[in-house]
Symmetry: C2
Subunit: 309 residues, 2 copies
């Protein structure tokens, strides 16, 4: 099977967005932006053995490849629109491709994004998606907007994905809820988009709260204090921290794909209402200050961060 | 070194395009399009052992990763603007990264494109670039526009990269000119852009003339006849074909990154003038007809195509 046939068979789906003039099947894709909007783009790669296990289900890999990229678009407050897929495969495994392709198609529908192009190559399994979205000019939520006195919030729970990964690595059997937190993260697209006129800064917590909040602080040239007693933890992470006094999962654990954002104190009511309206857990965990560092209080245990290299 | 430090050290360069509001360093990049323009995007991946040898120079890999993506933008007649880079590396090799980064930066300057974002991950060497460009609405050159009676052209020479690869694989030492054809393809950006009002269809000849021209024919629902006597061959390919009667290199050899395009007969003078003006070899090799297939004449030897899987 040549590359052309492979793409035709598995990755040439109907385009549902009329602003996309040309999708898969030419040298490049073509699409239009609404007037007054700008492009938002993000790229994330998943590698076998690093971001998922060798025996991971192709459906989970496809879903997650899309979700982690959507999460970055959400963190800008933008609307996701379309994406390119670069798929490096060790061999032509039709069963694998069918499952991957079918899950990616289904997930694309769920999140209202279209596949517009890509590349398939032979080699060790590697999935790179570049997601494109749009946002009204001057509306994006950057990392650099946090100001002294702002509240700090996070969505969802922290640490569940990291704890699930730890259990699998150590041979324990995680629950289905824990597996979902690792394999089926929900990109906070609606909330991100609704935060455009409320949040002063926002980031996707994919490398752990401590590291990602530090990026906001550095970009905004401010400091912060957060209280571990306020961190939103699911039951299993809560139990784990109580048992071990190890705070690595909620503070440094990656793969949560929740949003961490800041907003002025005057926005508290609006943010509460938004959270309720979108049925999304949003928790206030600390305050931005004028120091140049991140202080973590209510905490006496240990923690350690993931290093990419 | 964490991912953040790696990106800061090697991939956070000054943005030279004022329409790019945000480059490397946030969840996503932001940029504006000129009014009346649309987005053009393309993704290509290079994998160690498939697209380059294990001992390939990091400079060559960086250059080529960019060039192959630019070639797709050129084939649409568009202007390249910016790109994301996803780099999967087996280990943190500072010397490798320095050479790769420095060559990518230099090549980016040469082609007037900006790096706006990306991802670095650990794993088998894999470089995925997504190139973004822009073009006036309704001006792009698609594969589907070829019409009966149109002339068929190609730029440059055909088969040199494939012959060079064959020599290396068989233990022969290629000349510097041959190595350049493999490692330093020149994306035909100026010519592609100038063809916007002249060419009826265009494709990037990266999988071999025969296969890529067939994509034009299928998309345009036409046929073609090309004459091998007219194919532009460099000296070494010419000699090889004479010696072996094997036409695989110029007809089916990949990696040439030349443009194959069609244009009405009335455009001949303008195309000649353009080729002269841009000092680019442009050769008329055949004609589009109403058959539904590609006929290759002037040819009695053998040929075989590369299969990706």
């Amino acid at each position: 099977m040549n590359e052309f046939d492979l793409i035709q068979s598995y990755f040439n789906w109907e385009i549902t967005d009329p602003s996309i003039e040309l999708g898969v099947g030419d040298d490049a894709a073509l699409f239009n932006l609404n007037p007054g909007h700008q492009l938002v783009t993000s790229t994330d790669t998943l590698v076998e053995g690093i971001h998922f296990f060798k025996d991971a289900s192709p459906s989970d890999i496809a879903y997650k490849s899309l979700a982690v990229n959507l999460s970055d678009i959400a963190a800008m407050g933008a609307i996701a629109k379309c994406f390119t897929l670069s798929l490096t495969l060790p061999k032509l495994d039709k069963k694998w491709l069918e499952q991957f392709s079918s899950s990616l198609k289904e997930s694309s529908k769920l999140f209202h994004v279209n596949l517009i192009g890509g590349d398939t190559t032979k080699g060790p399994l590697n999935i790179t998606i570049t997601m494109m979205g749009s946002i009204e000019i001057d509306s994006s939520i950057k990392r650099s907007g946090a100001r002294e006195g702002d509240d700090i919030y996070v969505t969802g729970d922290l640490g569940s994905a990291a704890l699930c990964l730890k259990k699998i690595k150590e041979g324990d059997k995680p629950s289905q809820i824990e597996l979902n937190s690792l394999n089926k993260p929900i990109p906070r697209l609606e909330l991100g988009s609704a935060l455009r006129n409320l949040a002063s800064s926002c980031i996707d917590v994919s490398d752990g709260l401590e590291q990602d909040l530090s990026h906001i602080l550095r970009a905004s040239n401010v400091g912060a204090i957060i209280d571990t007693n306020k961190l939103p933890l699911g039951d299993s992470v809560n139990n784990y921290v109580k048992d071990t006094n190890d705070w690595s999962m909620p503070l440094c654990g990656g793969d949560d794909y929740e949003l961490c954002f800041t907003a002025g104190k005057s926005k508290r009511d609006k943010i509460s209402a938004l959270a309720k309206n979108l049925e999304t857990r949003v928790t206030r965990i600390g305050t931005i200050n004028s120091q140049k560092e991140l202080e973590v209080i209510g905490f006496s245990g240990m923690r350690s961060s993931y290093q990419h290299f």
